[in-house]
Subunit: 375 residues, 2 copies
């Protein structure tokens, strides 16, 4: 059987799936692998021109699915709430739709965004910079349901489990993540059944998903089937093995949580189809983009023109953890230029000029740099 | 400036954009390039589990954009109809919405689908097998508008030009394609302003696009701004250079037009995150998928189990050029198996067992093969 026909087979090192840092096959300085291409073909990103929009349409919002997109019949679907609660519950969508409803604008970003720019490069979903998107999420406040269930005082975490099932790092499991109890009780954490005013698309977690504003996307469990309040920390694969900042495969590391401050720019001018190099006419052009952080409000964005940094104009905050628009007028003079942008948040955190390297390729919020040719 | 920062610069051979077959950088036996990864990150495909659905939701339907997704203000937008007609016209969306309306179910596929499976591999958008989708397209029959404009008897083609602009093969242009007059006058060719009953998403051509049932996607021009009836064949880049079946860079080749017969299967079982290898429990499983052809109705689908071919059960045709569902029960016994499917259409055309190689990597409708591990 020719390799070209059995593309679902591993075309990379056979050891890949057995790697200790099971979210990845370990860093490489080698070329892009077929596994990375397959993941990149499944998991779509947000073309950067969509940064012009406050809200990202569903088909442009980034999507990462670890396993397959489940095919769920809402009529037979239930959400189970159990564990260290006074009253366990089984809820239908009809019941959830009768509960109090909130809508929160949220910028979600994949924790692996920027991974493929790392050197050496962890082999996993090969995001460049577009693993992001902003949407209005509508549904039931998680805190309301936990209040109804009655959380026991000695509870420490809440575990969220989706329907999606597969194998990662040799471990069969359904996708599951936990939140510390104090995060789960935040008023803006929502069990969403609508995205931008319409039913959740299948790839975004239909019929119900968790949305945790300010945290990287891995916390916002999709296709949610159970919520369990626990009295000891959750040890599931996606919590203990994947989504950690590790220096090496042997390093226990620290958990990935809130989104690191980042800004991105709409690439100006027009692209070359194959290389995506940008071409621009000389003269005035309004550079624009968005900036966001899970750590605190974005307080400033600087734009770098060939390495010289200038302050950008910030629009009013969009509220919550939604990204903030920035603009900067520029007069493009003929020749080659490198444009970049760098955001800082209210905690003083700012984007690094050099790559933010770690073993799994998490949270690489290095400044974006765009090469343009003017003339 | 480090390469990892200037990802929009070419990381491949500098000659890429100057290649004679300008849709690609020419075939290679080398590893996947950064250009291919960038294109794969922008252009999203349809995860194969979406083959379970008659209609593909917008965010799961494949998208290929040669250049950037235009940001169009419908209120200032006009469609111009000109050339060899009795009466040139400028139409607003409001005017078009008052015209007769049709809805057609159409399976669209990218002409480059299957390209990355080719050996040697043309360097361009690196589709594996998922560059496909099916939607209901609603809008004005093109034939109605051409009738209103009054096509001159010596007209030979109709040229469709989008707003999207960029450079390909060193040639700056707006994306444009032509149709022979007899194809343009087909009753099922539609100027669509709605997809699956809702406004066109930006990436699918908002506010108006052409949809040519039965043809590969390159004919269905998005962000349509002008329609020109011409009396000599159109020589634009996307007609004369790109989208041709060529044996080599020097071969003038033949134009890509109708979709070659193809079938795809929903990969059974559960995946490994990284390798996408499939694991399956022993016992009965219903294999299912879809088949389509731009050449004629799909008349049969065979399913291959470890190379032995058996007929699949075909559902009723969905009508027009929409894909047709097929199923086949299988009892999975422990061990490794290779599953495949092969469709035949009413012209007698069937899918090849070996790759359908050509210089630009067009129309590779080789049978899909999926490796599964049972047990």
């Amino acid at each position: 059987m020719k390799q070209i026909f059995t593309h679902q087979q591993s075309a990379g090192p056979a050891a890949a799936a057995e790697s200790p840092a099971a979210h990845t096959a370990g860093p490489t300085t080698g070329p892009i692998t077929r596994e990375e291409l397959q993941l990149g073909a499944r998991n779509h990103s947000m073309p950067l021109e969509a940064l012009r929009r406050d809200i990202t349409p569903p088909g442009l919002h980034y999507v990462l699915t670890h396993f397959d997109i489940p095919d769920i019949d809402e009529s037979s679907w239930h959400l189970r709430i159990s564990g260290a609660v006074d009253m366990a519950m089984e809820l239908t969508m009809a019941a959830l739709r009768r509960d109090p409803v909130i809508t929160v604008p949220v910028t979600l970003e994949c924790a692996g965004n920027g991974r493929s720019l790392l050197d050496p490069r962890p082999v996993s979903q090969p995001w460049i910079l577009e693993g992001v998107g902003t949407a209005h999420w509508t549904g039931v406040p998680l805190a309301y349901l936990l209040g109804k269930a009655g959380v026991h005082p000695h509870a420490v975490e809440v575990v969220f489990t989706g329907v999606d099932e597969g194998v990662q790092g040799g471990v069969p499991h359904r996708y599951a993540r936990s939140l510390p109890i104090h995060e789960a009780l935040r008023p803006d954490v929502v069990l969403a059944y609508a995205m931008n005013g319409t039913e959740l698309p299948p790839q975004h977690g239909y019929p119900l998903r968790l949305v945790v504003p300010g945290w990287y996307g891995m916390a916002s469990v999709k296709w949610l089937q159970s919520i369990e309040v626990v009295t000891t920390p959750f040890k599931g694969f996606q919590q203990e093995v994947a989504y950690r900042y590790q220096e090496s495969a042997d390093d226990a590391g620290t958990p990935v949580s809130r989104i690191r401050v980042r800004s991105l720019m709409v690439p100006p001018g027009i692209p070359d189809f194959l290389t995506r190099n940008r071409m621009l006419k000389p003269g005035p052009v309004l550079l624009q983009g968005r900036a966001w952080s899970g750590g605190g409000a974005v307080t400033s964005v600087e734009v770098g023109i060939d390495g010289a940094w200038l302050p950008a104009q910030l629009d009013k905050p969009a509220g919550g953890y939604a990204w903030r628009k920035w603009t900067m007028p520029w007069v493009a003079d003929p020749g080659g230029h490198v444009l970049s942008c760098r955001a800082t948040d209210s905690t003083g955190a700012t984007q690094p000029l050099e790559q933010n390297w770690n073993y799994q390729g998490m949270g690489n919020n290095v400044v974006q740099r765009i090469s343009v040719t003017v003339g």
